[in-house]
């Protein structure tokens, strides 16, 4: 899903991409980024691995866990960012690639997010995004695909640690046109994007020194791109929902300053594998309830109705948050956004709301 | 200095002497006194009448308002301070009530002080000082320090110092004032004995009748001058 997440991550780390808008494909330092073009066939497991020629790439795992019979939301995300660092610099420290990772859990009994993050320039085996298959290392954090196709994720910080096994139960879901996903009105505003919904989760959650076995269901997005958002964009909304019948719903919209959608998209894959891909006119986010953050005074539309147009007719999913305060406040180094576990009748997933505290600076 | 065949001048000759205190009160006027060589005069009088001032005037340490003081025929008024100091050094001996013996000098050195000041050779001066100590009853004590002697012995030393350079005139101010009566008697008779032995005239200012009794003449100082004491 969406380059905007990459921005969130970069801003959270106090970073932005080195190149200014308008020079998206090539930086002044002579670094050229691979373009995203339609028609490329994604092949696996190679495309589970990193694509270092592209500017940004992320592996985004979100899901619901059952711990001691209680629902807990979680997310583990790895970003890879290619910088404009001079490619002639032979130093092993040359920051050609930066790896950033973020993890959070949403526990209703805590009532707010617990989060942790890591960042490093790639190198020395301490921070790597492997080419050829999914294998991400960032100090003691890890996300990798094992030989039998099962994913293993390991992340955490001072407040919690996650050690999870994610087992695919469905084939890869190619978003957009066979994995080519448009993000804006400009032809180059696009990414390669696939999802792995309905991952069966088992493992452990460590909290306050106590290790608890957990089970649950998760969703993986992998997306890579070299382009930027449209100039008018101030934020975006995204949702990925594992439906209980085995279907998977993806919906996103890029908003302008007036809250109007600059672009929208998504997909609905039925349990039988039948895939409907949504264009800009097929997806609408409606707001039922807003919540004002006591920390930032930002007003988030946390209860949404997602309306999509399918060949079978219009459908609506009423999303309700696991709890209200799932705002991620990473100030002063990063932005403020809402990233939370949501449920709907017949399904559970994640909703991401960015650009509500302040427009995301580009 | 008078020399030659002329008859020796009196050791002390005072005529028409007048003195006021700095505040203006007249102490005395028309005071006259003449001492013969070897004569001992006791001066008595009430406190504040000017006995000490009279001694100071005679010693050349204070200036009279009027009148004339001659010592051995020398008019004090004609001398400057250094010359008066020289005159004191050569012709006058002093005995103080509080002895004024220098603690850091030996007894012999204390006694020899006037001789040394007169630039006599030190060895010679010390021999004479020791001889003088013999005469005041402190035989063999010349190398001692003042810290080791009693009050009576202090005044013996003072006597020795006053006489060692054979002065014409000895001025003594309450020489027994700090001594017990017995010691005072001994010191007094020693003083008179030594004065007579060296034929020095003396003016002894005292409150003590016993001291006065040892003198040849006893005078009472009043604002009208010196008058003879009537026994």
């Amino acid at each position: 899903m969406i380059p905007r997440r990459a921005f969130a991550a970069l801003l959270a780390a106090g970073l932005t991409l080195p190149a200014a808008p308008g020079h998206a494909q090539e930086s002044p330092g002579g670094v050229s980024f691979a373009p995203v073009r339609p028609g490329r066939r994604l092949s696996f497991p190679t495309d589970h691995g990193a694509h270092p020629d592209f500017r940004t790439e992320w592996w985004y795992v979100t899901g619901w866990l059952q711990a001691d019979g209680q629902p807990i939301g979680f997310q583990i995300t790895f970003f890879r960012i290619r910088t404009a660092a001079d490619p002639r610099n032979p130093s092993a420290f040359s920051p050609r690639q930066v790896i950033f990772a973020h993890a959070a859990i949403s526990d209703p009994r805590v009532g707010r997010l617990l989060h942790a993050q890591r960042i490093a320039r790639a190198g020395f085996g301490l921070a790597e995004a492997k080419v050829g298959d999914m294998d991400l290392v960032l100090d003691d954090w890890r996300l990798r695909r094992t030989a039998n196709g099962v994913l293993r994720a390991q992340a955490g910080g001072e407040e919690f640690a996650l050690n999870l096994t994610l087992e695919p139960t469905q084939p890869v879901l190619l978003q957009g046109q066979q994995g080519f996903s448009r993000k804006g009105p400009g032809a180059d505003q696009a990414s390669y994007y696939y999802s792995l919904p309905h991952l069966k989760v088992s493992g452990a959650l460590v909290r306050e020194g106590r290790r608890r076995p957990v089970t649950g269901e998760a969703w993986l997005d992998q997306e890579w791109s070299s382009t930027l958002l449209d100039a008018r964009a101030v934020g975006w909304d995204w949702a990925g929902i594992n439906l209980d019948d085995g279907a998977a719903l993806t919906a996103f919209q890029v908003r302008d300053g007036q809250g109007q959608a600059v672009w929208a998209g998504g997909s609905l894959r039925a349990a039988d594998g039948g895939l409907t891909t949504f264009g800009p006119g097929d997806v609408r986010f409606a707001t039922r309830r807003q919540w004002r953050s006591p920390r930032t005074a930002a007003l988030y539309p946390i209860a949404r109705d997602i309306q999509v147009r399918t060949p079978q007719g219009a459908r609506i999913w009423r999303l309700e948050p696991l709890f209200d305060d799932q705002e991620l406040d990473s100030r002063p180094v990063g932005p403020v956004y809402w990233e939370g576990a949501v449920r709907t009748e017949g399904g559970r997933g994640y909703l991401e709301l960015t650009g509500y505290d302040a427009p995301l600076a580009l | 200095m008078p020399t030659g065949p002329t008859p020796p001048a009196p050791p002390l000759l005072i005529s028409d002497l007048a003195k006021s205190v700095p505040g203006g009160r007249l102490l005395f006027s028309d005071l006259a006194l003449q001492l013969a060589p070897g004569e001992i005069v006791a001066v008595m009088g009430e406190s504040g009448v000017g006995k000490s001032t009279l001694l100071n005037l005679v010693a050349g340490l204070d200036r009279p308002d009027a009148g004339r003081i001659e010592i051995d025929g020398v008019d004090l008024a004609a001398l400057d301070d250094d010359a008066r100091t020289g005159l004191r050094r050569d012709r006058i001996g002093f005995v103080f009530q509080a002895f004024h013996i220098l603690p850091h000098l030996t007894l012999a050195q204390n006694v020899a002080l006037p001789l040394i000041l007169a630039r006599r050779r030190e060895t010679e001066a010390l021999i004479e000082a020791n001889a003088m100590l013999d005469r005041v009853g402190l035989t063999g004590r010349g190398a001692d320090f003042p810290a080791q002697v009693s009050g009576g012995e202090m005044q013996r030393i003072a006597l020795a110092r006053a006489l060692v350079h054979r002065p014409a005139l000895v001025l003594a101010d309450e020489p027994t004032g700090n001594l017990d009566p017995q010691t005072a008697d001994v010191i007094l008779s020693l003083l008179c004995e030594r004065l007579r032995a060296s034929r020095a005239a003396a003016v002894i200012v005292t409150h003590s009748e016993r001291a006065a009794a040892a003198a040849d003449r006893v005078l009472i100082l009043t604002s009208r001058g010196l008058v003879a004491h009537e026994h």
Partner: protein
């Protein structure tokens, strides 16, 4: 009654109070300045090493292999490892700064204060951009100020022989003070300044709750020879050892001032007790117990001490502030670069020094108090005399002799914790013994004079001094103390300076010395070209670098010297015998020999060029004043063999006879490669010597100032004591006037007394000072600084000191005499007329 007494003697009371104040003030000032400087220095160290829990540092500026970074980063207990390239860099304008190459992403969680914030709104740049901008340098405020640059300006930096033009992208707001620091990206640092594959430092943050000792051991086991583990504690220790010896020296000098104050309190109280003998006697007769006298005098001592110490604390804070402003944190010692640190307040130290001042005052009052207690009431009342007989109540001479002997023994003892405490103890004992022996010394010196047939005033003066040596001692103790200490310091400093001067001539025999900027080097071709210069009769190339041999000690300076046919040992000012042995010979400096306990013939391993080089041996020890922490010299060939580095950054050039150095330098510079010529610094030994001696004099300037203050306090003590003693002798003068002593003769007598006393004091001071200087030279200096020197006497200084002392004493006596003789002789003896 006490107040009345002090009011009657304002000068003496004031002098005693001031003396204590000066002692306390100096002690406190030195302490505060050092504390402030150390805090600042430690702060600087902390800000450069960040909040790292552990630090691995390279043994030399060549660094260590970067492969150590992932190894340590993955160790159990290490949360984050932040790799650092650390270089000394110069701008084109010659501003020197420490250039750190950091990975900001790592540093952010280990040393966040080393990350800058760019000036907001400047050219649209953001912090984030600066982070990965390999052309960006973030400067500390001091570096910005020294370079005169602003954010956005280009800056050309040279380091390790390479130059790069960068852009000032922001300010390191976390770096306070005068620390000139620049931070660039580690990749840029490695690439632009020839450090590919090398790191100079690794800052480690431990995981919460990790067993520190275990982690240290684990780190230690992974370290190559060219890297060493440094904890913030050991860094502090090193910082402290840097200036500790110098600080202890100054601190001791301040205590000396305090001691002088103690002696002055003794003088003042003794005189005051003497003066009040009748008064005390009266009180005794009226029923005050003897103990009452004792406590009264002691209470006076406390009051004097409290007044003096309070004044001294104020003075000390003021002095410290002033000194920090004028001289910087090391009081001119040259140990801390830059830095006018803010004043650090240390209440505990203040309290300690304050109490010390009071204690010294009470101690100074103890003898007079005991004296007051023993006053025989009857005698004192009866005589009514102020003068005390002298012989009684005198401590026997064996006490002084014992003290002197104990001092001699203490001088033989080894240092305690690197500080020559016993040496200072020896000085204190010798001082106490010497001052205690003053009465005997005075008598002994005056005895022959008594036999002279001197004119009466002189004879009287001699007689008085001989007869009352204790009074002389009372007057002199303060000045003897301060004079002897000044003489000791002066002799030590002169010896030191002379030895340094000799050493400079010996160690710099060539006509011209050339040195390249840090990082630059002459390759063999450039060396050959320079050696072939027609102006040069002989050229010896050298290379130096620093090498850390012990994590808790500053690095030693290693240099390669000597020519193709000559040994590096030739031309060194060797001390003692040379040794022969197997392997490569090295010559070590005296400080190194002492610090690392090495002797000629010992074998030695050095971590050079990534590995531990074994099989070196110490061929000789040479005298070195330039590096307190050790230096080592090896042959050119040995250096090249060990390091494989043919480059040389220094050259010693002997000119052909008759050549002008200035024109020769121009010609030699022209023969250097274009890239190196601007970075070459030529100096003549004359210049170097002048600079070295200037630095030397600067670092001792404060010492001189302290000495001068101690002397002034001592002289003030002499003057006030004299006037007190003289005023007390009014009756004596009155009697003498009666007996026929002229006023002028009394003045002559007093002048003679003063001059004689001054002479005795000078002689005692010179003798004691001479002895104490030997303790400083042969015990304190080797133990503090690890170097030796040869004694030289500053005759002009000593002579003028003695003359000043005699003149001041005589002058003080005459001045006091004028006052005493202003009263007429009549009044002087009147009290009992």
């Amino acid at each position: 009654m006490v107040i009345g007494e002090w009011r009657a003697q304002p000068g003496r009371t004031l002098a005693a109070v001031l003396a204590i104040a000066v002692g306390v003030g100096l002690g406190l000032a030195i302490h505060l300045v050092n504390r402030s400087a150390l805090d600042e220095f430690a702060g600087a160290v902390r800000s450069v090493s960040g909040a790292a829990d552990l630090q691995v540092q390279a043994a030399s500026s060549a660094g260590f292999d970067e492969g150590l970074y992932p190894i340590l980063a993955r160790l159990e207990g290490v949360a984050v490892a932040s790799p650092v390239v650390e270089l000394r860099a110069l701008t084109d304008d010659g501003v020197a700064l420490t250039l750190l190459g950091l990975d900001p992403l790592r540093a952010a969680s280990v040393t966040p204060n080393l990350l800058g914030r760019p000036a907001a709104g400047d050219g649209g740049g953001t912090a984030a951009e600066a982070v990965f901008d390999l052309d960006a340098v973030t400067l500390s405020p001091a570096a910005l100020q020294q370079t005169g640059l602003r954010v956005g300006d280009p800056i050309r930096l040279s380091a390790a022989g390479q130059s790069a033009t960068l852009r000032v992208a922001g300010v390191l707001e976390g770096i306070s003070g005068d620390r000139a620091l620049g931070v660039i990206d580690i990749a840029a640092a490695q690439w632009r300044f020839g450090q590919l594959g090398r790191l100079q430092r690794l800052d480690l943050r431990l995981t919460a709750g990790a067993d520190r000792g275990a982690v240290e051991r684990a780190v230690q086991s992974k370290l190559p020879a060219e890297a060493a583990l440094v904890t913030p504690q050991s860094e502090m220790r090193r910082t402290e050892s840097l200036s500790r010896a110098y600080r202890v020296n100054l601190q001791m000098l301040a205590l000396v001032a305090l001691l002088t104050g103690g002696f002055l309190v003794y003088s003042a109280q003794t005189l005051s007790v003497t003066r009040r003998r009748p008064q005390f006697a009266l009180l005794r007769v009226l029923g005050l117990p003897a103990r009452g006298m004792l406590s009264q005098v002691l209470i006076e001592g406390v009051v004097l001490g409290v007044a003096g110490a309070a004044l001294g604390v104020a003075l000390g804070v003021g002095l410290a502030e002033l000194a920090l402003r004028l001289l910087g944190g090391d009081l001119g010692g040259g140990y801390f670069r830059g830095g006018r640190p803010p004043l650090a307040f240390t209440p505990v130290a203040m309290a300690v020094i304050f109490s010390l001042g009071v204690a010294i005052s009470v101690l100074g009052s103890l003898f007079p108090a005991l004296q007051a207690e023993r006053i025989p009431a009857a005698v004192a009342l009866k005589t009514g005399s102020g003068e005390t007989p002298d012989a009684a109540g005198q401590p026997p001479p064996w006490i002084s002799l014992t003290l002197l002997a104990a001092g001699g023994l203490a001088a033989l003892a080894p240092p305690l914790g690197g500080v020559p405490l016993f040496g200072y103890g020896a000085i204190a004992l010798i001082l106490a013994g010497g001052v205690g022996a003053m009465p005997w010394l005075a008598r002994g010196l005056l005895s022959p004079l008594r036999r002279l047939n001197a004119p009466p005033p002189l004879a009287l003066a001699i007689a008085r001094l001989w007869g009352a040596p204790r009074q002389a001692a009372v007057a002199l103790c303060g000045i003897v103390a301060s004079t002897s200490l000044m003489v000791a310091m002066a002799v030590m400093v002169t010896s030191f300076r002379g030895s340094v001067e000799d050493w400079l001539i010996q160690i710099l025999p060539a006509d011209i010395y050339m040195r390249l900027e840090p990082g630059l080097a002459l390759d063999p071709a450039a060396q050959a070209r320079l050696a072939a210069a027609p102006e040069a009769a002989a050229v010896e190339f050298r290379q130096s670098f620093s090498l850390r041999l012990h994590p808790d000690r500053p690095p030693v300076q290693v240099s390669a010297r000597g020519g193709p046919g000559t040994s590096a040992g030739e031309g060194l000012p060797l001390v003692g015998a040379q040794a022969t042995g197997e392997g490569l010979p090295v010559w070590i400096s005296e400080p190194m020999a002492r610090l690392y306990d090495l002797r000629p013939g010992d074998s030695l391993d050095l971590p050079i060029a990534s590995e531990m080089q074994e099989g070196l041996f110490v061929a000789g020890v040479w005298r070195d004043y330039s590096n307190q922490f050790g230096a080592l010299v090896m042959d050119q060939s040995a250096y090249t063999t060990l390091t494989g580095d043919p480059g040389r950054a220094e050259a010693a050039i002997v000119l052909r006879p008759g050549l002008e150095p200035a024109s020769a330098i121009a010609a030699l510079r022209a023969r250097l490669p274009d890239s190196l010529a601007p970075g070459a610094d030529f100096a003549e030994p004359r210049e170097i010597r002048a600079v070295a001696l200037r630095i030397f004099d600067r670092s001792f300037a404060v010492t001189y100032a302290l000495e001068a203050i101690a002397i002034l306090v001592g002289l003030a003590g002499v003057a006030t004591t004299f006037s007190a003693q003289t005023l007390a002798r009014r009756k004596e003068f009155g009697m003498l006037r009666h007996v026929g002593v002229r006023r002028g003769q009394i003045m002559q007598m007093l002048a003679a007394e003063g001059a004689l006393l001054g002479a005795i004091g000078a002689l005692a001071g010179l003798t004691l000072g001479g002895v104490m200087s030997q303790v400083l030279i042969h015990v304190v200096n080797p133990q503090s600084f690890n170097w030796t020197m040869e004694t030289r006497l500053p005759w002009p200084l000593l002579a003028s000191l003695a003359a000043a002392l005699v003149a001041t004493s005589a002058g003080a006596a005459v001045l006091a005499g004028r006052g005493a003789l202003a009263d007429s002789a009549v009044r002087a003896v009147r009290e009992d007329w």
